[in-house]
Amino acid sequence: MIAKRRHHPASILFKYGLLVRNLFFLFLILFIFNRTDPSTIITYGRYAFLAYLAYSIVSTLLTWLTSSYALDAERFHLYNGIFNKTERTIPFAKVQNINRHTSFFHKVLGLTSIRFETATAGEEASVKFDVLTKKGAARIEEIVEAKRKPEVREETEIGAKEDDAPSAEIPLAKPKAPARTIHFRPTTRELVKASFTSFSFLLLVPLLGSLYYNISDFINLEDRVDGLVGDVMSSGWIIAATVLVILLASLAFGIFQTFRKYGKYEIASDDKRIYIQKGILSETSFSIAKDRVQAIEVNQSFIKRLLGLAEVKLISAGSLSLGEDNLDISSLYPFLPKAKAYAIVSELLPSYTIQEEMERLPRRSLWLRMLKPSWLWIIVTALLVFFKPDFFRIEQTWWIASALLLVLIIMSRVLDFLHTRFCLNGQLIQFKTGGFTTSLFVTKREKVIEVKVTQNGLQRLFGLRSLETVTRAKPVHHSYLTDAPETLASDFHQWYRERTNEIELEPVE
């Protein structure tokens, strides 16, 4: 329990820091670059700037003075509002996942920020503490988690039911200390490998490009660069050397980027929760109770499939972003070898034993896929025929482009047919789909909040149907299996209806 108190005073400092950052360029424009400009717009702009600055300084202070929080045994109480007072109460039981972010500035001051995400829609979905001490964050986290302890029973109970053992009373209060098991930490070799597959070295080019344009806004670089380019192009040796330097620089940059992002990656768990941590300069961590994992998704891009790597994502009903930037923290290390990824999943979530042997679609669904009109191709071809663009002065561009697109679409359909697999595996459902990039979606029956089976006219001719499951996520996650055999559709209905065996109902008051 925490008695009603204000947020950490350093939060004012952070808000002011943000204010300075946001207003910096405006300040430069109004007061430095145009300091001799006597026009009315600039003059009034300056007044408005100062008024806004004064307002922000005062309102930040007042906001801090009037907002406070408290925690009792079961819920958060948040108080805020300068004139209109609001009091929000959020039960800990609604917390889906906990995101923690320590930016570089937090780190310098020994502080951190923490967000408790609920599944509610809208602005007020999360309880956020933008600035607080590490100790304070740990204490709040502890209180929130303590409440959730009794619910952990669920996992073991279901396991017991499956084995038909009537003794559901598996000792849940294991006196084991909440020791975390570390499941994965990338080695330097793995990081180097990751930096090649992530293609982050390609980022250097657009980064330099945008830097160039930003600078050339202020200083006239173009003439100098034109001269430089002319000099470089004059000799084959210099061209080769330049290309080499650029390549090496991008490579170094890619490795640096990967180390920065995934350097201190760590996947850990105790008997209740999963913890994912990453980042060197700024640290981000994500934690979710095992029974709150709504589903898992194994994604493989074309390159990753060639190298046998996979990315595993945990799907939560709460938000996974921190402010504006989505940090993608719900993913277990994105460059895991596939077998290792599956092994970690079964270590973290024993009830998710992914069955790799899955059924394929019948041959006739390939024919159906081929028959389906591709709206994309039709529209693009229509546009090409209409405009007849000549790219690089090739008049035939329109039909070449159209043919290329058609080939790509057919290839992706064939690949999709070849990759699509499905499996009803006890209480798990596994759908694997995708052409160039594949995605395997695995969830438990009890987490599926709705199912849908559809059949259109063409599918009726071929005796095929499409299945859809809906699971909670932010936003709600729909997963599809198109053109599955009719027998699977009825099995699917039957399978779903048996969820009644597993769900745990709330007592009715």
Partner: protein, 162 residues
């Protein structure tokens, strides 16, 4: 398909209701379109606007024909059922859709009645879940009321949130 013999149908009056509804909306659309054609002729709008209007008129005519044919087909395609655990829906003329919604995931039920529905003694029932919302259109009013009560009763029981 085994286990999927839903018996409950919509109110037979749904067909005349849909026809009436379509008639009213078609008349309104026709009026709007007529006014646009008149303005086009009166104020000499660009030629391409005339072509667009003709295109819209053709689509409108097709939709009028469809609105005459479709109500009995839609009525025939609709089935629903419910038990203590699930709500089952089945519908669709071109694309047949079957849905299973657990009662414990239903967040809200509402009965809705527009002016034309009232004339035919009908009501529609809409059901909101965490993921989406669904509606059973055109039920007899008393049945809609009963269903609302039953679903509300069954949906009162919630799963432990996970």
């Amino acid at each position: 398909m085994n286990d999927w013999n839903l018996t409950e149908q919509l109110a037979p009056k749904a067909v005349p209701y849909w026809r009436m509804y379509e008639l009213v909306t078609n008349i309104i659309s026709a009026l709007v379109l007529g006014v646009l054609f008149f303005l086009d002729w009166r104020f000499d709008w660009y030629t391409w606007i005339g072509w667009v209007l003709i295109g819209i008129a053709v689509l409108f005519l097709l939709s009028v024909i469809w609105s005459i044919i479709s109500p009995p087909l839609l009525y025939k395609s609709w089935r629903y059922d419910l038990d203590a655990e699930f709500l089952y829906l089945q519908f669709g003329i071109w694309e047949r859709t079957e849905q299973v919604i657990p009662m414990s995931k239903i967040q809200a039920v509402a009965m809705k009645q527009g002016p034309i529905m009232r004339k035919y003694g009908l009501a529609s029932l809409s059901v909101d879940t965490m993921g989406s919302n669904h509606a059973i259109p055109a039920l007899p009013k008393n049945i809609a009321e009963q269903l609302r009560e039953r679903i509300a009763q069954f949906a009162k029981i919630k799963e432990v949130e996970q």
